[in-house]
Amino acid sequence: FRTFPGMPKWRKTQLTYRIVNYTPDLPKEAVDSAIERALKVWEEVTPLTFSRVYEGEADIMVSFAVGEHGDFFSFDGPGESLAHAYPPGPGIYGDVHFDDDEKWTEDASGTNLFLVAAHELGHSLGLFHSANTEALMYPVYNSFTDLTRFHLAQDDVDGIQSLYGPPPASSDDTPVPTESVPPPPPPPETPAMCDPTLSFDAVSTLRGEVLFFKDRYFWRRTHWNIKPEFHLISAFWPSLPSNLDAAYEDHSKDTVFIFKGNRFWAVRGNEVQAGYPRSIHILGFPPTIRKIDAAVSDKEKKKTYFFVEDKYWRFDENSQAMELGFPRLIAEDFPGVEPKVDAALQAFGFFYFFSGSSQFEFDPNARMVTHILKSNSWLHC
């Protein structure tokens, strides 16, 4: 790694940033998220913290521009120079400029904004280019970087910590003996499809396929392949979180709604729709509800069921409102289905409720559980 000549660095640890304008290539939320995640990359390995301001001068001003844009470092059209940034200091120093003649994307189909932002912010914090081809601060854009497993190279960490030191041990950290550096956490195991104890975070149909979400991954059951495909969520939807709570497809809108915590996203195919995430409370949940466990939409009746612990709500897709008289007890209207429901699916006229490693096939006409299966029975184990 290298620092800029004269080793400029910020003399404070609490820095401000402002997104001055946006590219037309992406929804504003996607730009906000990319910059936020790029800052977090450096925040995690230093004592630095970043807070966003929306007007006036910030330490790091982020903007998009084309060609000559007032700093004598003209951009050069598509390709070649993607962006540039200035080392720490007042005024233009610390600022990041993106060339808006590039096609900025959330995935790898164009120039990935998160990846370039993380590199440029390295400059804003005082890192010059690195000759280490594995390092984020290597000057040439690597379009094959696995975005799902992005992490700083040791060279990047050594460089930024040579300027600012390591992050402070947080108050609840038990003091780690200095002589032994704790081993890096083992990489998260990938879930085994045919593990008899397998449970799911969420299940949803998608244009005739069925998606089974677990941790950072999902299995995809398609018509043309008896063997389910296994993917990282972020390979299709980079801005979605992992460890989802619920998901359901609204067939009339050709949209899958994805829930985590008190927020939900709308995806159409692999496009996250603009204006999301939104709060689940706009659907009509009381403020006491912090998350939902499962959701499924009855495409004939145009009713969507939301399951939370031992209760459920019903949402009328026509009036777009939660129905009165809810919540009701799951045990009353779905006898035999044991809370808590992890995920839910409608298929072949039945409802399938996933709870841990068990799956309850429920006949809504007979109002009874007709089969109890293993949760992963859909994956042809």
């Binding site: 000549p5 470092f73 951009f75 390709g79 070649e80 120079s81 993607l82 962006a83 540039h84 940034a85 060339d99 590039e102 120039t111 370039v116 590199h119 440029e120 400059h123 010059f128 280019h129 000759a131 081809t133 000057p139 040439v140 854009y141 379009s143």
Partner: protein, 81 residues
Amino acid sequence: YTLKRAAKEDSRMGLVQKYLENYYGLTKETRQFFRRRDSDTVVGKIQKMQKFLGLEVTGKLDSSTLEVMLKPRCGVPDVGH
């Protein structure tokens, strides 16, 4: 054909010259030597670039060097202020 090759050679040299100026501090006054790639300033810059970008240091504009130079990159120089 020769003319065409010369034109192609020219545009390539233009790209290389701009790259070395933008990122390796090749100054304008060395521009007149640029057509003769053997001027030690230019060869030195090419070697410096190859070393920095993890390429084989030949001082020549071989295909792997040109390939890296055509890739999108950060606009901040690799050397100098």
